[in-house]
Structure formats: C-alpha cells, structure tokens
Amino acid sequence: MRLALERVGHAFLGRTVLDDVSLALDAHETVAIVGPSGCGKTTLLAIAAGLFDPLSGGVRRAYARHAAVFQEPRLLPWRTARENIGYGLEVRGVRRRARHAIAERLAEAVALAPEDLDKFPVELSGGMRQRVAFARALAIDPEVVFFDEPFTALDVGLRRALQDLVIGSARERGYAALFVTHDLLEAVRVAHRVIVMAHRGGRLAGMRTVADAPGWRDERTIWQTAEAWRTGDPLFAHVFGVEERA
C-alpha cells in the first residue's frame, strides 16, 4: 500500500464536496477516478497530494516522493523547458549540472527535441508544454504521481501518444498513479482499476477492475469495455447520463 485515504470528508463554504471517501493505492498500481465535472475529483486529488488538509478523515502515505501533472501545464513562464523539468529536483537540492543531465534524459523519454529544451513555455505548443510538465513529474523519480485530467486539452492523436507514455513510464519506473479523467476510454486504457464518483454528494459510487494490465490490452478490447460500461453498466449510466443531460 502506497497511499490510503481514510473516510475523507471536505466542504467548501459549507457545501459538501467529499463525503466519507476511502480508497487505497497499491504500489505499481494505476487507479483512474472518473466522474462528472464539479463532483470533487480535483479536490480529492489535492487532498491526496497534501495541498490542503481535509475537514475530516485522514491521508496515510507510505512513500517519500510524489509528483503531480495538472490539467494545465503550470510551467513557470520565466524558465526554459530545461529549468522547468528540473524544478522538482531543484526543490530537493539537486545541483544544476545534475538537473540538466536528468532533464536531457527525460526530454528524450517524453519525445521532446533537444533544441526545445532551451525554449520558454510561450515558444512551445500545447502538447509540448504538457510533455514538459510530465517530464518535470518524472524527474524526481516519484513513487506516486497524481494526474488531474492532464490531457483533456489535447487533440485525440496527441492524447493517445501521451497516454502511452504514462502507461510505459509507470511500468518501467514502477510508480503508482491516481489518474483523474472524465474520458472513460482514457480511464480504461491507462488504469488497473476505475473508481466512479457520484455526481452529487461527494461519495464514491463504485469501482470496476479492467482485465489485464495497462499496455497489454488491445485497442478493440479497450473500446468494447468502455462502450459496454457506458451503455450497459448502471454504475456509469448515472455518471455519463448526467453528463449528457447537463
């Protein structure tokens, strides 16, 4: 067990956003969280990442380093791609030369061209920025990575490429991941398990396990699983039904 949320509850201005949420994340495991927008996914992730404390319940962590990839790249505009990738390392006191070496290695891993490393974020495309943000997360060699709808803003082809990067790097590096998305296909592709959040009340509605490990599933099975869940499974019907009516 790497991370456990125990009966977490939270409210903003008296409005309940999370209520009695418990979940555990094993080592080497990717868990997707799906749910309609506004149901509290980002809040859940922020609490898990320790950005703020929940009003009730607690978070247990059995690891040393975590990293996060957000919906927007959140790069420091005044730093080049290279220095952005090295940010987490800098926080940990890694020397400049070592940071740059790691940044160069990771740029290759996330398919960034070496000449892009000296560019500022404004000079990069949306997909490249998100690659930099992903490389920044991998740079600190995290044991847990939090993803908050990281690829929502990208087009389908790019999204696929980055999903494959997540699957590949999670397997190679062995990090556990909590992956928030509201794309069911994405959840089925990258995760071992899919947790569904209720659209109101801040509770978890249920959980489904995907057959085989991520990366070993063929596209047809992924697509069929997602489709079967979307159309035939009452757990998802309420989530995506709400989405379509909204």
Binding site: A49, H66, R74, R79, E90, V91, F120, V122, E123
Partner: protein, 267 residues
C-alpha cells in the same frame, strides 16, 4: 553566455534611436514654440543648450547637480526598498491590503508641496527635508506596486510548487518574485520620476541648494535660458537613470517575455 548578453545590450542600445526620434520631436515642438512666442518666454533649444554648456563650465555646476541627484537617489532608494518590502508583506494578506489602502489614498492625496512645508518645520531647511519629502511622496507608489504584484500572483503555479514540496521562501523566489518584477518596475519608474521632481521642488522651497536652489536664483534674475537649462538637466538626469539603469535591468530579468513576441515586433 556573456556574448549573448552583450548582443542583447547592443540591441537595447540600438532601440535607443527610436527614443531619440521622440526626443527630437519634442525639440522641434519646442523650437516652434520659441519662434511663436520669442526668446523671453521660451528660449530656443540651442540657446538653452548653450546656457547649459556655460553652466557646466562653472566649478559650482558639478556640486549642484550631484547634490540634487544624491538627494533624489537617496529618497528613491529608501522609498523603493522600504515600500517594496512592506508591500510584499502586505500583499500576502488581503486584510492588510484593505487596511492600508485608505492610508495610501490619504498619503498620496496630500500634495508634495504640503509635505515640504511639514518637513521644513520638522527637519529645518537642508538636505534632510528634500530626502524626507521624496521618501513620503514616493514610498506609497512602490508599496502599491509590490502589494499588487504579490496579490496577483498565480495561485495555480503556487499550488504546483507546493505539490513538488517547495517551501514558502522558495515559492516566493521561483513563483512570486519573477511575476512581481513586472509590477515593481513600472512602480519604480514612477517612483524615480517623483523623486527627482520632488527633490527639486523641496530644494527650491527650502533654499537647500542643488538644482532647485539654482532654479530659484535663475528666477530671481529673470534668466529664462538658465532656468530652462536646469530643467533640461533634471529631465536629462531622470532619463539617464531610467533608461540607463532601470530599463536594462528589467529587460535582462524579463527575457522570457520577449521570447513570446513574434520576430517582426521585437524592435
């Protein structure tokens, strides 16, 4: 690295030609005014330049100019450093900003001339009066810029930094400070301008020498060319510090902003 920095400096100097064009436009309008109203009201730019050269030849000149510059810069430094520091601290607290805002309005609402009178009473006539007036008139501007800069920091970036384990000091340095620069420099530019103006005004009224004192003498002698020459000198000093020090530093700190500008627009 150094070569690239020199290249940027060269480009900055080159951009000075455009600024020079602007100054020439002012000179042309000045000349037109001179031809319309005559030498007594508005001496020609060239006559003023000649008067300035004559003044510069006198042994008193350097002392007068450095006296005013010293006072303006002393006031500016105190105001910029003090105002920015308090501003940064206040910027982190909405309550502090709300509490300080009316004070700022009051302080900024009192005309500098009134501060000079008060400072004269408190400090007597001398350099201290000029510096104190500059400080009071300029500090709120630096404060407002710094507080505004911190208050408008990017909270999403701040959360990112926290997610990567950055402590408050590092977050200030890596997330807030670079953003703050874009608020501080315009404030400091205004602060510097205020400093020179108020320093001269305070000197003139408190009989404390410097360029203000020299202006008072020129006025007593009805020597319009001399008065104009001193005015030109003050403006020249201000331009020198603003474009010789403040702007190059800012350009160097804000290279990332220039990176986003398309090629044709660069200069």
């Amino acid at each position: 690295m150094i070569v690239r920095a020199l290249g940027r400096l060269g480009r900055y100097a080159w951009s000075g030609w455009a600024g020079l064009t602007g100054l020439c436009c002012i000179a042309a309008a000045w000349q037109a005014g001179h031809e319309a109203y005559g030498s007594f009201i508005l001496p020609a730019p060239l006559d003023t330049a000649r008067a300035l050269a004559a003044l510069a030849a006198s042994p008193e000149f350097l002392r007068t100019a450095t006296e005013t510059t010293g006072r303006a810069l002393a006031g500016f430094t105190l105001a910029a450093v003090g105002g920015s520091l308090i501003g940064v601290l206040a910027g982190y607290s909405h309550a502090a900003i709300r509490a300080v805002k009316p004070i700022l309005t009051v302080v900024l609402g009192v005309p500098p001339i009134a501060w000079i009178v008060l400072a004269l009473i408190w400090f007597g006539s001398g350099g201290g009066t000029a510096i104190a007036t500059v400080l009071i008139a300029a500090l709120p501007i630096a404060f407002a810029g710094a507080a505004e800069g911190v208050a408008t920091r990017d909270r999403a970036l701040d959360a990112m930094a926290r997610a990567f384990g950055a402590g408050p000091l590092r977050r200030f340095r890596s997330v807030v400070l670079p953003h703050l620069v874009s608020h501080l420099f315009p404030a400091w530019t205004t602060t510097l301008g205020t400093s020179f103006k108020v320093a001269v005004m305070a000197e003139l009224l408190s009989n404390a020498g410097g360029i203000g004192g020299a202006l008072a003498v020129a006025r007593a002698n009805l020597d319009v060319a001399d008065a104009m020459a001193w005015v030109v000198l003050v403006v020249g000093l201000l331009l020198a510090f603003e474009y010789g020090v403040l702007h190059p530093v800012r350009e160097e700190l804000e290279r990332w902003r220039a990176a986003g500008v398309p090629w044709g627009v660069k200069r």
